[in-house]
Subunit: 422 residues, 2 copies
Amino acid sequence: MAEPCVVIIGAGFGGAEVARALRSAPARVILIDQHNYQLFQPLLYQVATAALSPADIAEPVRRLVRGQRNVEVLLGEVAEILADERILVLADGSRIAYDILVIAAGSTAAYFGHDDWAPFAPSLKSISDARSVRSRLLRAFEEAESTDQAAERNRLMTFVVVGGGPSGVELAGSIAELARYSLAKDFHKIDPKSAIVLLVEKGSRILSPFPKELSDYAARKLKALGVTVQVNCAVKRISETWVETDEETIPVAFAIWTAGVKASPVAKTLGAPTDKSGRVETNRDLSVPGFEGVYALGDSALVHDDKGNSLPGLAQVAKQQGKYLGRALARKLQSKAPPGPFVFHNRGNVAVIGRHAAVIDFGWLRLTGIVAWLLWALIHIYLLAGLQHRLLVAVQWLWRYLTYDRGARIIVEPKAEGDSSC
Amino acid sequence: MAEPCVVIIGAGFGGAEVARALRSAPARVILIDQHNYQLFQPLLYQVATAALSPADIAEPVRRLVRGQRNVEVLLGEVAEILADERILVLADGSRIAYDILVIAAGSTAAYFGHDDWAPFAPSLKSISDARSVRSRLLRAFEEAESTDQAAERNRLMTFVVVGGGPSGVELAGSIAELARYSLAKDFHKIDPKSAIVLLVEKGSRILSPFPKELSDYAARKLKALGVTVQVNCAVKRISETWVETDEETIPVAFAIWTAGVKASPVAKTLGAPTDKSGRVETNRDLSVPGFEGVYALGDSALVHDDKGNSLPGLAQVAKQQGKYLGRALARKLQSKAPPGPFVFHNRGNVAVIGRHAAVIDFGWLRLTGIVAWLLWALIHIYLLAGLQHRLLVAVQWLWRYLTYDRGARIIVEPKAEGDSSC
């Protein structure tokens, strides 16, 4: 009899862990991803701000599972899940049958009904996004240098980051450092240090998942870097050259959207109940109620802990779920008793603001300043997949620390306002 | 009285040297390039074969001339030279007046009347080209892995490099090594080692600028790597899925064009006589006859040496010409006597085939094997602009040497046969 086929949609932090944990399981495993690499999203903002190259934070999926004979890697986009037939339909029309399905498809940016803003306010979820933001940022300074009109120059040196979560904070801080340090000496007519970076947050404070004292610290440090932090401030409209908040209309080079995510659309095609973010409601063992043999995790799943709180969309949640589910499936395939429900172990929340400034919340311990910053760097080097990536990122960070220079200051994407997809 | 304005078109090896040599000259210098970086073209094939990232071989123009107060860098594309008015017209319509003009605009791929082949056979002249080739190469192996049809699989694992000059040889060798070593263990259904790499050269031997014994050595080493070298073989037609030579029609994943270059089109707009490659015929002091104050160099210029031979389109020629011309212009601006004509000093020709295999021709000395290979690596690290780039490239080379792995195996460009520009 043929071995059962486990199909995993998504080779991110969650999906790849499932595949790895099935190493010795009696199953044929198919790991499908629309990219041939696993992206280390926590450092994507550094690609967007010219500090790292895309490949530095992208590990080939095939290398992640190299040597695992029972895992097949498939480059493809899943268009639809036909749950009744236990079949996946790919975007190219081909079909894949599964016995067990793991939905670990991650998330995309959510503009909450304003998808028309996307061309003017790219998000930061993919390598293409990061390249686009990098080119737009660097080009804005080039254009500011070559214009004769003061108002236009000011517009071109104004950047708005929408969303004060960890991604928004890290991005805003990094743009400010790019302007203040890396570009400072390279222009004649403009002073990059005078660039305006605006961080707009709808809620009452930035870094809302963190304790208030850490939010306050981050706000102070961002201000010291020259970032203008506006809380209780909602964005009402975004166009090619301005952003309208409920307080003012600001001419901007462009905006960057970090204000929300939704589950990748494939999750919804299963037909199971989802929340408003498109996440599949999942049992505590990550199985989907009413869909025998179907599981969801990470940003594709709405999972509750024993207190009834839903688990946050964090890399560490997805990774732990992936490891848990992979082991659980291995037991199932060997007809062993199932494990208890998934329990999330919080390894700590981290966000970096800039040089010598980060916040870490371990629950039992809160850190700020240079200690948190160093720990942040070590954790991220450690978490990167592949020794070569660790080495390359470490070299580039050390270089930047010593010289303030950034090595990836290239504008390659053609100028195309309204086209962030190229 | 305002200082004279020296405008340099192109911040490549030649143009940047002119700007640097004018450091202390009493002139306003404007350095225009369509990119914000200087590309180290000799290593572009390594980006195309996933060994390096684009930013590793791209140095921001502003950093090249950092601290030089009399040099303005301008990101822009020159559409036309209005020689009578001493004005440049940029693609965006803006105009720049010059007193002295240096045309150092480099070259683009020439398909010799077959521009319709370009979508199927990208060239390797820009970062976009290299990214496109990289994505196509890696995607071909992915598609070969997922197809069930043997003929299609064979097609997807066949690559043709057109042109047996140094670029073609280095690219063919690197593709073969990618398949043979870096990808070898990562697939289940296909054996990447069985990929066919065909190097097609119209002339009677590859590396024709080198002595015959070095050509023969290179051909032997390519064969040992699994590259099929076909000399005296002209390409008659190229389509999306096959290449027709005067010997056979071969189904291929795609072809890569390294068979010819022509001067960037702006040179022609000057209105001076050009050769069939679009190069401006230039006096031996690099001035353009009949155009007072206009100079050309590098791939934009047709310059003869004292024996009447035209100088080859090499980085070292452009660099030496740039240094010569910059100094000559500095003397002219200070009303000093002009120097003698430009004399090219051959620093040696180098081409690498693969691990432990390269050829170097110093004229008085010919090297092959591991010695040439090591020297090749040292020379290229040395020639890279910027210590950070040297460090990053060295780390990646060392890593690759030890592990056979390549760090930049990412497919980002969308699949778009017939569109190499994205």
